[in-house]
């Protein structure tokens, strides 16, 4: 069974600076890393391949330098990678991004499962994975913390919830987004790194994908950013002190006073 994993190159958060005037990230000069959640997607893809055979193909939409991120996932054992890159893709919101990625998936060909990280650490929307599934009209499960069973036709997963987890059975092909509890990503291998250096990573733009400029990038986006700002801190905080009993008493009487309990 072939698995497609979607990966995004994101700025390394420790080095990020904000442009004071526009309130946007200064991306120039910051090192790109693979969105950490996507590494769990890659690992899960590789495990499925080890179990069921087939290939793992990585797909990324991004600027030309996202090629680095794709080469890196090849070093972990991914069989092939495709970069969706075109000037027209710039400024895409989650709608345009998922539309573009869905087109990419269709062009890659037959697959049993698409795996995405639960969200990207730069945008933090968690919308692209489900968005791709909607475009492709396949079932999806977000926040998967465990694959219980997988065959070529069905999948049984545990979906992480705030108060426990759900067990869901899905027919394939399907899409899942994964949380970090799902696995521990492996280290790259030397043979993988050697392959990563020489592997051919095709770049597909609007013409290869057969998609119009109106559907992608800023033009194809439903979101318009009017203003980006750093929120003011609101609310007061208060530290309760003293012995544990005293702190608990104080807390209970406060909560009681606020009619919370």
């Amino acid at each position: 069974m072939n698995v497609i994993v979607c990966v995004k190159q994101v700025p390394e958060t420790t080095g990020v600076k904000i442009n004071k005037d526009t309130n946007t990230l200064i991306r120039e000069g910051t090192k790109g890393i693979i969105n950490p959640f996507d590494m769990y997607a890659v690992e899960e893809g590789l495990r499925i391949k080890e179990k069921l055979g087939g290939e793992v193909i990585a797909l990324s939409m991004g600027p030309p330098q996202a090629d680095e991120a794709l080469r890196e996932v090849v070093s972990y054992g991914v069989d092939g990678a495709v970069l969706l890159s075109d000037r027209a893709f710039a400024g895409a919101d989650t709608l345009a991004t998922s539309r573009t990625l869905a087109k990419g998936v269709e062009k890659v060909g037959e697959f049993g499962l698409i795996i995405c990280g639960k969200q990207a650490i730069d945008g933090d929307t968690a919308q692209v994975g489900p968005g791709i599934a909607e475009r492709l009209d396949i079932p999806y499960v977000a926040f998967v913390r465990k694959i219980r069973e997988i065959s070529n036709h069905t999948l049984v997963v545990e979906r992480m919830m705030d108060d426990g987890y759900d067990v869901l059975e899905v027919t394939l092909p399907a899409l899942i987004t994964v949380v970090k509890e799902i696995n521990e990503p492996r280290m790259p291998s030397l043979r993988g790194k050697m392959k990563a250096k020489s592997v051919d990573i095709p770049v597909w733009g609007i013409s290869e994908l057969g998609i119009s400029e109106e559907e992608v990038g800023l033009k194809g986006s439903a979101t318009q950013v009017i203003k980006i700002f750093t929120p003011q801190r609101h609310g007061n905080r208060e530290m309760l002190e003293g012995s544990v009993e005293r702190q608990v008493d104080q807390l209970v009487s406060r909560l009681d006073g606020m009619k919370i309990i």
Binding site: R186, M187, L190, K193
Partner: protein, 388 residues
């Protein structure tokens, strides 16, 4: 420093470093404390292809040489030489087969070793035969198509954990040092058991045990090369693996230097970071000078060996002696830079200092290495006409 490594060599270093940082550093204190064999880490090294660096591709390896292997050893050692000796020890066990084994033996054993599915170990030392290996008593007597082994090997790295053992035994005591041979013994062979596991000062993640043979029978086919060349096998193998000890030493020194410099930048006394004191700076400078000099020597020795050179004993011994002496000094000084904190187990340098000592002892003590170098000098200079 740029040592003009090839792309592949840089990749080996980078990958080994990543594993050292992400997998070994966080685990090293506990492995040391619990004296636990680092199987989890060995598995990672195996699946990353690093266990196969120095074996030909036809046996499942990556076709590298001494240098490639040493680059990995160096980076792993930056985090922990208790782990790196487990990694390098399997190479020591495999080298007799690689250098002297039959095609059949290579096909049978090397792919499992190169993939890391099985570890190998090398057994020469005995209770009464350390520096003077010619004193070994373990015997192997031919009985039909089998050798019957009796005796006890001591302090064997990887004992109990490895599957494949190359042991040096006396097959003909009457012939003295020409009566030793190298045999392959697999774990699980009846009559082959493991004696005490030593409690050590350092490299405590590694296992050091006795190999006990009592009427242990192995097929005659397990003989490496031919009967009588056991010591030649040992010497040739150790000549090639000794730079590996050098690589452990430079990695360890680098790890100690890294810790010392970053600590000295943070620690404030008399209102200033201690790195601003010249006495501390000079100590760090000396640590850096010696580490770099040792690295240059180890790398040169590796390249010399990989060039196919014949007379490698001297250079190989030099790389081991110099860098292990450096590692001892650098780790002692690293503790000094950290002061009382350095003496505590909360910081890694006390372990590094304990670990360093073994490098001056195993694979031939530094005194014995100096003997080798001295002998080589005598030979070299005897051949020259005018030495002035």
């Amino acid at each position: 420093m740029d040592y003009f490594l090839t792309e592949d060599q840089k990749m080996i270093k980078e990958l080994s470093r990543q594993i050292a940082d992400e997998k070994i550093m966080p685990a090293r204190a506990e492995l040391d404390e619990k004296e636990e064999f680092p199987w989890e880490i060995i598995k990672v090294l195996a699946s990353s292809d690093l266990m196969g660096l120095c074996y030909p591709e036809e046996y499942g390896g990556l076709g590298g040489g001494t240098f490639e292997n040493c680059l990995a050893v160096e980076e792993i050692s930056r985090a922990c030489i208790g782990v790196s000796v487990c990694f390098a020890g399997t190479g020591l066990g495999a080298y007799p087969i690689l250098l002297f084994g039959s095609e059949d033996q290579k096909k049978r054993y090397l792919p499992d070793i190169a993939s890391g599915r099985k570890l190998a170990a090398f057994g020469l030392t005995e209770a009464n035969a350390g520096s003077d290996a010619s004193g070994i008593q373990t015997s192997a007597v031919l009985d039909g198509d089998e050798y019957v082994i009796n005796g006890t090997k001591q302090w064997i790295t990887g004992g109990g954990e490895a599957e494949i053992y190359t042991v040096i035994v006396m097959t003909d005591k009457s012939r003295g040092s020409r009566g030793a041979s190298a045999l392959i013994v697999e774990k699980g062979t009846p009559g082959f058991t493991f004696g005490i596991k030593e409690k050590k000062m350092g490299i405590r993640a590694s296992a050091t045990t006795e190999l006990v043979f009592s009427n242990c029978r192995v097929p005659r086919d397990n003989l490496i090369g031919k009967a009588g060349i056991g010591f030649i096998v040992s010497m040739r193998v150790l000549d090639r693996t000794r730079p590996g000890i050098g690589a452990q030493a430079i990695g360890l020194s680098q790890g100690a230097l890294d810790t010392a410099v970053s600590y000295a930048r943070e620690r404030k006394q008399f209102g200033k970071p201690i790195i601003s004191f010249q006495a501390v700076q000079h100590m760090l400078a000396d640590m850096a000078i010696q580490t770099e000099a040792a690295r240059a020597l180890v790398y040169s020795a590796c390249r010399f060996i990989d060039s196919g050179a014949k007379n490698i004993s001297k250079v190989s011994a030099m790389s081991k002696v110099f860098s292990s002496d450096v590692a001892m000094k650098v780790t002692v000084d690293a503790v000094q830079v950290l002061g009382g904190y350095g003496y505590m187990r909360d910081y890694p340098v006390e372990k590094m200092m304990r670990d360093a000592k073994i490098l001056q002892i195993y694979e031939g003590t530094n005194q014995i290495q100096r003997n080798v170098i001295g002998q080589e000098l005598i030979k070299e200079y005897a051949g020259k006409k005018d030495n002035r």
